[in-house]
Amino acid sequence: MDLDLVKSEILRDVFREGMIAPTPASERPLPSGQAPATWPARVLKEAKEAEALTTVKTSLPKFFNPLFRKQNLVNRSLIASTRAGADGLAGVMHAADRLSHEMEVLRRLVVAIGVSPDAEGLPQLRRAARRGEPIVTLPWVLRQTVRLPTGATVLLAGCMGNLLNLELASLGFKVIGVDERECGDDHPNFKFLEASPAAPPLAPGSMDSVIAVSGLGQTVPGALAVQAPDEADRAALLAWRTVLKPGGAVLLTIPFGKASSTDNQQLYDSPALDALLKGWTVEMREFACCATQESWLYPTPEPEAGRTPADKAGRPQAVAMIVARK
């Protein structure tokens, strides 16, 4: 008897038998192809602008990936593909399946523009979103923001891969997002700076907090296994420390597990993490891991997370989540 299979079945029971919160009304199914009456005017305007993309109905899978590189175009293609019906949505899912880090963004965008997650094909998208670490790291970051003063100034180091910039801004934080690509988001509490997230062009001691979701642990192709903190990561942490006020908090999520590197990520293990955080006052050191192929669980004991290797595709299956003070 395969106990891993039994565990997967048990987890499916957990979700199927209503042990999680029921689906909110906003996520209930809508009639196929029907635009909800509550679509914001801005979304409708963008949808109109994006009508040129209606060819996505037949060819979305082929050109969706290039579009992904520009988030504003992603938004438009999503809208267009939604209008195109189930075939278009299949294209979104196809892209989502291949781009794990953006899956959660896609899911949220789809929900944000009012499409039912239970529409044809969308369960596939939801399943895809469950496989990536953002399913646990993003809620964890939001949970930790209770540590920050109301209206705190927050540097979001890297703001393209998720909607955290808008979520934090909506919660009243003064958010400065730094990334090498324009995210195209507007909010009275959000300001975008085009620069390297690892070297934010901000005054020393100006931020209450720095948040970096999966900002560390990125590596160059073919790098060797992590034995010591990567130089680039240490340099980035130093830069973030500089812009923090005394006592300011850094919130980090870092790929963790049995030390190894893939083409674009390296996994930190406990000794490497210890070395990376030297000099910081660590307030919280927590871990989550992918217990089965599709479900992340939190909290996970550090030794268990440390034994978790990346999956066959090189995606981390455990993550370290750190709150540390300057």
């Binding site: 008897m1 039994v6 079945e9 029971d13 042990m19 217990a291 996970t300 004991p301």
Partner: protein
């Protein structure tokens, strides 16, 4: 033949520390050695035990010290440092202080001091270092120690030899399923998580098993033990949670034989003897994959990396309704016990460790 002196903070019948020490002593005696005990407190009747203050006067320089380290013991540390003969450091693990601090700051501070003493004991260059598991061995190795043996004795043979408590056994055989957990009722062993899972089962309208929590309450942590009953009442499962604070060996056997599942959600275990007891009785095991638990259970139980009560509730429900799974887990447990944890196998490891220690003393 040599004379061994077992040094420990306390000797009590029935706990993991006491059982480990007594089994080591009996094996040494069986091999013709003389064994003496030195402890700050002794609860074992009819056993001659030196006080730690008297011990230096009674110790001969060629005596072999087996120092059982489980908490801060300044007198013991001084003794260990002063003794010129061979000294084995037997590390039984110390609970991380942060797990106790919310309930008793003084006990937590004791753990901090205990861990500091671990470093001091290692700095005194023991002739041998013995750990209870690879997990505790790693802890010592992280402090720079070379661990020469890993083993943990138990008193499972005694448990299998006493007759089961017939009254308790009859009360368990009323058609309802029973879940068992065994261990001191302390926050680091976290039996409250099992109550949370039971609460979830009730909320979901699943068939509700009884939960039997077996263990003594550590003085100073009565507030934690009391919180268990209060939480069970909040969740509406007070009548389904039975706390056995003083169960006899016969009673324990009745529980192992008549419960359908053994669960443990500890944050910290240096080995976890009750898991091995459960496996020896073929009881299906569900456990939190923390500290030494994964290496003790191996592939013989369902291990979760999370204490999420929803997951545990679903696991309990599955094991209790799936006879094939329960049988498979039970067989795996029995097999693992026979392959890894019988007294004979542990004795072999211990005798080799003693032999190495004796060689050191002769050289």
């Amino acid at each position: 033949m040599a004379r061994f002196v077992m040094v420990t903070s306390s000797l009590a019948p029935g706990d993991a520390l006491g059982n480990d020490i007594r089994q080591m002593a009996w094996l040494l005696q069986a091999d013709g050695h003389e064994v003496k005990y030195a402890a700050r407190a002794n609860l074992v009747p009819n056993l001659e035990v030196w006080s730690l203050t008297d011990c230096p006067k009674r110790l001969a320089s060629k005596d072999i010290l087996i120092y059982n380290h489980s908490l801060a013991l300044p007198d013991g540390l001084a003794l260990f440092r002063q003794h010129r003969g061979p000294r084995a450091l037997r590390y039984h693990n110390i609970t991380p202080a942060e797990l106790l601090r919310p309930y008793n700051a003084e006990l937590a501070q004791g753990c901090v001091l205990g861990r500091e003493e671990t470093l001091a004991l290692l700095a005194a260059q023991p002739s041998a270092v013995w750990a209870t598991s690879a997990y505790t061995a790693q802890e010592l190795q992280n402090a720079g120690a070379k661990v020469s043996a890993v083993f943990q004795f138990h008193a499972i043979d005694d448990l299998h030899q006493v007759p089961p408590d017939a009254v308790l056994a009859a009360s368990l055989a009323d058609g309802r399923k029973n879940i068992l957990t065994v261990g001191r009722i302390v926050p680091n062993k976290a039996p409250h998580r099992l109550i949370e899972a039971l609460g979830f089962m009730k909320a979901q309208g699943r068939p509700l098993p009884r939960l039997h929590i077996v263990g003594k309450v550590t003085p100073g942590l009565e507030n934690y033990a009391e919180s268990l009953g209060a939480r069970a009442a909040e969740l509406g499962v007070a009548g389904d949670v039975k706390i056995h604070r003083d169960v006899s060996l016969s009673g324990l056997r009745a529980l192992y034989e008549n419960c359908q599942l053994f669960a443990i959600a500890s944050d910290h275990e240096g080995f976890c003897v009750p898991l091995v007891e459960a496996m020896s009785f073929g009881l299906p095991v569900v456990a939190l994959a923390a500290a030494a638990v994964p290496e003790t259970v191996g592939d013989a139980g369902i291990l979760w990396p999370t204490p999420d009560p929803r997951v545990w509730a679903a696991t309990f429900a599955r094991v209790l309704r799936d006879d094939a799974l329960a049988t498979e887990l039970g067989e795996r447990g029995r097999r693992r016990f026979a392959e890894k944890f019988t007294l004979e196998k542990t004795a072999t490891v211990f005798r080799a460790a003693v032999q190495a220690l004796l060689s050191t003393s002769m050289s």
